[in-house]
Amino acid sequence: MSDEQEIAPNNDQELVSRTQGGDPSAFDELVIRYSPRVYGLVYHMTSNHEDTNDLLQDVFAKAYRSICNFQGKSSFYTWIHSIAVNMTINFLKKRNRRQHPSLNDPDSRIESDPDFIAATSNTDPTKEVSMHELQKKLNAAMQKLSHDHRVVVTMFDIQGMHHAEIAKILKISEGTVRSRLFYAHRLLQNSLHEFKRA
């Protein structure tokens, strides 16, 4: 499920070396490769497209400035995600409650997803919800979580990362990742009980 294997980290190292050697086009390749994943991480944390765009620019700019210090002890994948998580959490701390959701429209493929069909056409036909209604409720439930819980839910449930990868990026133990997930799922269950699978 994770994209790390698909992204070929060995090739990343070559691109990193070329960037460190002064080839900016190599860094462009890394931006093309990682911007969709990093976008997803930041977007699901902020629930705001414009904030995500600005943060994503800052994340890649910071990575570009600091790439000379990148020694390859972790993969570029882990490194760029760590930068993104730290910058996003700092941003959220500053933003605090001044949040105005700016959500992207869900891809039309969602309508054919069995999970979506199961969630929206519940056993009780009077409780049928639209795609946008579901999106709003999911977003509201996510925003109720603390930053620490939201980041593990985003990485594990939405982006499909391993526990070990999450632990490495957040610099916490796998046990902590699991306990945070467990607690976050319990909170989400309270908010989204109507969509719970039968």
Partner: protein, 155 residues
Amino acid sequence: MNTEQYTREEDKEPMHHVIRLKRYEQPHEGYFEEFLREFQFRQRAELLKPSLSAMLMERLHSLVSEIRVPAMAYAGAAVLAIIAGTAIIRQEPQATSPRSYAASYSQTPVTIEKMQPVSLRIDTPPNASQHASQQFPPAFLLQARPATHESPLSF
């Protein structure tokens, strides 16, 4: 994480199926190409943006050039500075040993090799004493006697 493992996790957590629907929320088509172009544009703009020190140096340079002091004046001032500096460096110190400003009270004693008796007698004409006794009472008249350095015990 392989598919089997992932499926087991899914089965354990019912909310996972609902939450993962958020992955369909994607930016509009072509967003990531635009993002890269914007990133490249910002990077170039940052490179062109002069640093604070470079701006200060530029301001200083323009300020100096505005003063319009002739080049010969700079050269003259430089020569004067070099001459003054050389003169100061070449100036030898007056004394190598540390100077003492303490007052000295050593003084050679004054010696009188041979003491001569000094006569304080005033020779007066004979009629002058008579004249003096007429002017002053006798108690105020000193007897003329030679002064010596004899001990007062000799009296």
